[in-house]
């Protein structure tokens, strides 16, 4: 099958495109079992719809406090952006470029999928290095920043070897390349659940036929996130902005008897930003032009860079969010303004018979308890590192 590159990028050659299609297919393998969710859009899913959320990891704030979460999420340690790798879990990751203490010059965001970058690294090493250099604001970068000791352009090096070397340098928990740890740049997402596979799995399990009877009216209804997520442990995390929303929306689409597919190209996109919440010290609203959208064709952007143009004589940290009255001190405050979307294609309501379905009793549904164990653990590590 042919699958477009995220954001309708055109960086892959024939072999790369085939590998990308294969990679996507492997992520979507589980979807074939669903009566409602299909692996790719077809004539049966003619309508576009989006699920959108904002990029601030609300679960982390709910477990700690907003202020503490902001600090933790921006945590940069010896290995780079620790807060990002551990807890930037809303399919949006960022790095903060600081100048003087407390000064923020720039915040860079990405929703780029690690699966795509693996394929890019495996099949288009020159393009990959050019892209990294561009994202880092350099004329060129050495191959070792992305491939370690491997020479990716050597004749006998295989795509699998390139991918493995790239993953070791740029993606895996011990990866130390500053071009994806945040020291020099960020290229693609690294938090362990910010993957196409995780998203596809969530859509697959959420898009099942489940219903529960409304105790007050006696009518059938679809499940809330609090009820649904305990039914597919490991596929979604309660109290995030993204997962519960995807779980409910997809569950509801199935409840309405619609066929559901992730859009082609599959990806997570940055759709907009609440720029008017930010004001200069003079009280002027920040124009949208100070946000630079990239790595995709409008409206499928995967990268956002926020900085004040040089002529303005201001830093990002001079700006105030009027919805909180606080000056910008953390990247997380800007992440709160970024609108992230998952684009779906769906069919008409009633196209798929709802019966047979899983009819749940209210008692069988989940309580939606918050799990903060991991957040507290990371917060303790952060406190210990300071």
């Amino acid at each position: 099958m042919n699958v477009h590159e995220p954001g309708h990028l055109e960086a892959l050659g024939d072999a790369g495109r085939a590998a990308w299609a294969e990679r996507v297919a492997s992520c979507f393998a589980g979807l074939e079992k669903s009566r409602f969710v299909q692996a790719r859009p077809t004539a049966a899913t003619p309508h576009a719809t989006v699920i959108d959320w904002t990029g601030f990891p609300v679960r982390v704030a709910a477990c700690l406090s907003r202020r503490r979460a902001q600090e933790l999420l921006d945590w940069r340690g010896e290995r780079g952006d620790e807060g990002r790798r551990r807890l930037q879990e809303e399919y949006l990751e960022w790095r903060v470029v600081r100048g003087a203490p407390r000064e923020i010059r720039r915040v860079e965001f990405t929703t780029e999928l690690p699966e795509y970058w693996r394929v890019l690294a495996a099949h288009e090493p020159s393009t990959l290095l050019e892209t990294i250099a561009e994202l880092a604001g350099k004329a060129r970068v050495a191959a070792r920043v992305a491939y370690g000791d491997l020479d990716p352009l050597a004749r006998r090096v295989t795509p699998a070897q390139r991918e493995s070397a790239f993953a070791a340098a740029m993606l895996e928990p011990g990866a130390m390349s500053g071009y994806n740890t945040g020291a020099n740049a960020i290229c693609c997402m690294v938090q362990r659940t910010n993957t196409l596979r995780a998203l596809a799995s969530l859509v697959a399990v959420a898009g099942a036929a489940r219903r529960v009877r409304n105790a007050a009216t006696g009518e059938w209804r679809c499940l809330t996130a609090a009820e649904a997520i305990p039914l597919f442990p490991g596929a979604a995390v309660q109290h995030r902005a993204s997962d519960p929303l995807v779980a409910e929306r997809v569950g509801r689409l199935a409840f309405e008897g619609r066929r559901i597919a992730l859009e082609d190209p599959p990806g997570v996109y940055i759709q907009g930003v609440e720029h008017t919440r930010l004001r200069t010290p003079d009280g002027d609203a920040v124009p949208l032009e100070w946000f630079r959208f990239a790595r995709g064709q409008d409206p499928r952007f995967q990268r956002l860079t926020f900085e004040v143009p040089p002529g303005e004589g201001l830093a990002v940290s001079d700006l105030v969010d009027v919805a909180t009255g606080r000056p910008i001190r953390f990247g997380a405050q800007v992440a709160e303004l970024v609108q992230v979307v998952l684009r779906l294609r769906v069919g008409p309501a009633g196209a798929v018979p709802f019966e047979p379905c899983e009819t749940l009793k209210p008692a069988a549904t989940g309580k939606g308890a918050r799990n903060c164990t991991d957040v507290v653990r990371h917060d303790r590590a952060f406190a210990g590192a300071r």
Binding site: T54, A225, P244, R252, A323, T324, Q339, A349
Partner: protein, 379 residues
């Protein structure tokens, strides 16, 4: 819904319906007073207000029998909800601030919203130290109660003054000035507490909620000039029945709304025109408040009529919402695709609503002697 700490006056519990009379009374502390003095004054005000539905009127002590019974009827369901504004936490308004505790992150003076322009605002009268939301069965009850508050403050020389009040009414037919049903797609009762109950950030707000008040002027003449079909596409409902739109018929050249969706819980739409309607913009995700990203709020609005002058009636909506986090409302009114890029509905649609006044308030959890009393201690 037992065990919740939300103050009375948020009519969210199963079987409850907001009474039709509304008046918001806004109070500022006099210069130089501290939190404890304000707390004592508020205690006196709230005691007086609590007495009204019991037939205890300040100017009529000792009323008994049939007369007291009539007073109790007059003030039936009179309920007071107390909120604290950003001003109470602001050291530039009071030094030291009336409330020394940490200010909630989104409790700020209202700066407005990108698609909801201020109407010639010079000073925003809805920003105050304290807001008292009065609701009751009869308009006279909330109006008399508001006047009694002002009288009590003056007669006892208490260090608070009424800076503004805003009145409103609910309609039995559940329609608003636009002629459409309004506020009918609020959440199921069982889900409401998840949208309302504030987290413990700051700790003193645990179990409380937040109130947003927006005094919105509606240009009724502009609205009425729109054809009914266009109105229905902008609202997302069929005008007479309130049935949600499910599709748009484009066969005749002019888009015609197709209704048939659930009245309370409109179905997800895939038509761009329906998705741009107010019903969908205000609740794009169509998910429950158990999904924090769903941006659900609990609405409890009241219409108002200020005057009828040579230019026609000056009227609108007291938009009142309660939510677990004021950030939710900020997102809703700033995000593109929601209400950040449309005044009401459409893409971007007509602009006929302006902001006359507005304020955001923390509504502390129920406590004795009154909600928030412990915050108004000595600095």
């Amino acid at each position: 819904m037992r065990g919740d700490l939300i103050q009375r006056g948020v009519w969210f519990r199963s079987g409850e319906q907001a009474p039709p009379a509304f008046r918001l009374v806004l109070l500022n502390a006099q210069a130089g007073v501290d939190g404890r003095e304000v707390g004592d004054a508020l205690g006196a005000v709230l005691d007086m207000l609590a007495g009204l539905p019991e037939g205890v009127l300040p100017d009529l002590p000792g009323m008994r029998g049939r007369e007291a019974q009539r007073s109790r009827r007059q003030f039936a369901k009179l309920t007071t909800l107390l909120g604290l504004g950003a001003r109470a936490f602001d050291a530039s308004a009071h030094y030291p601030p009336l409330v020394a505790a940490e200010r909630p992150d989104h409790l700020v003076p209202l700066r407005g919203f990108p698609a909801l322009p201020w109407e010639a605002m010079t000073s925003n009268l809805a920003e105050a130290d304290v807001a008292l939301q009065l609701t009751a069965e009869r308009a006279a009850a909330v109006d008399i109660a508001a006047a009694e508050v002002a009288q009590l403050l003056a007669e006892r020389g208490l260090p608070l003054r009424v800076v503004a009040t805003f009145g409103g009414f609910g309609r039995v037919d559940r329609r608003g000035w636009l002629g459409f049903h309004d506020g009918v797609s609020n959440m199921q009762a069982a889900d409401r507490l998840a949208a309302l109950a504030a987290p413990a950030d700051p700790p003193w707000m645990a179990g409380g909620t937040y109130m947003a008040f927006l005094r919105l002027r509606v240009d009724l003449a502009a609205w009425r000039s729109l054809p009914r079909g266009e109105q229905e596409l902008l609202v997302g409902r069929e005008k007479l029945s309130g049935s949600a739109l499910t599709a748009v018929d484009r066969s005749g050249g002019v888009p015609r709304p197709v209704a048939g969706g659930d009245f309370v819980d409109p179905p997800q739409s895939t038509d761009p025109l329906v998705e741009a309607s107010h019903v969908h913009r205000a609740n794009q995700s169509r998910a429950s408040p158990h999904a924090p990203g769903a941006l659900r709020i609990f609405r409890q609005g009241y219409e108002f009529l200020e005057d009828i002058g040579p230019n026609g009636p000056r009227l609108g909506l007291n938009f009142v919402s309660f939510q677990r986090d004021l950030g939710t409302l900020q997102h809703l009114l700033h995000l593109p695709g929601w209400l950040g890029d449309a005044n009401f509905g459409g893409d971007p649609g007509p602009s006929f609503i302006t902001l006359l006044a507005g304020g955001l308030y923390a509504v502390p959890p129920r406590a004795e002697p009154f909600a928030g009393a412990s915050l108004l201690g000595s600095p």
